[in-house]
Symmetry: C2
Subunit: 184 residues, 2 copies
């Protein structure tokens, strides 16, 4: 099973402003030609399950439109939460820890999971559970915000897979994560 | 006059470990083919003056070999400092503030300055004095260190100029800085 991150950041590495705001991303997307999704649909087509944290889920709900079609979504939260009834029935809540969750999904035959949301991504990285990361760098410096990456116990080496620079200034790069050989 | 930053960072945006160590960069450079300098020599050939902070200067001295040829170097420091006698005589110390320094160099006919060192780059960014930035992203996550970018009074919009992905995994991107129209 493969676990991937697919996310946009500012050049200074923020995925959102401190309060979660994405106005800078909306502004950048305004100049993206109609029909250009920077590979998102192709990526989603390869995803068996999307895993996100509670805060990201709440933000997704605030967008109004459901962006993930019929792809099953698991919302990780250590607290009880209810899924609004107007959300697709493929959304479920889980208390599971990252490693246990991936092991269960692997047993269930899921081959590719998409990990989304700042805190969730960092916890999966901390546990060495991320296999690939695609970052789309937006040409803006925010100066402050929620960082994509957090602290690590030790360096993580990456293997560059591909880079694409879009004419509207986004630069998208995919790296594979070199996992330690003992799996830890 | 143009002021440029030309620097390598980890994917998580650090230019050095917290103690200034560059072991991760040395390790990455070990796989770079002989003779490949990722455009550094061509960049240096366009530079009239290199401006760096005291800490960066001390680190450059620790490398043993002088990497900047006969390009004049100005070391910015609010404290008095002496330049070692074995350093090329084109190295001088200045107490000047960023804007005043650039104005003086412009009057002296310098057309391109290279701004180097974490704190120095951040102070020039804060004063909206940077025109272009070339970042070479090394495929590693450090988890902690000295950040290239710092806090800002407001967003800085960038214009993507070019991106080059090297076969050994470095990704180099140049952005032009969209300065506010009033020059502040």
């Amino acid at each position: 099973m493969k676990a991937s991150v697919y996310i946009a950041t500012s050049l200074d590495g923020f995925i959102a402003r401190k309060d979660g705001a994405l106005d800078w991303l909306d502004e950048a997307n305004a100049v993206v030609p109609e029909g250009e999704d920077c590979g998102f649909r192709a990526f989603m087509d390869s995803v068996g399950t999307l895993i996100m944290g509670r805060k990201t889920f709440e933000q997704v709900l605030s967008f109004g439109e459901w962006a993930y079609g019929r792809t099953p979504v698991i919302v990780l939260s250590s607290k009880s939460m209810s899924i609004p009834s107007d959300v697709p029935d493929i959304v479920t809540h889980s208390f599971e820890q990252p490693r246990a969750l991936l092991e269960r999904l692997s047993i269930e035959g899921i081959e590719h999971v998409y990990i989304d949301g700042g805190a969730t991504i960092q916890s999966f990285f901390s546990d060495n559970l991320i296999d690939a990361i695609t970052i789309t760098v937006i040409p803006v410096l925010l100066g402050a915000g929620i960082s994509l990456f957090g602290s690590l116990e030790k360096d993580i080496n990456l293997t560059h897979e591909r880079t694409q620079a879009f004419e509207f200034g986004f630069v998208q790069t995919t790296y594979l994560v070199n996992k330690p050989e003992n799996g830890e």
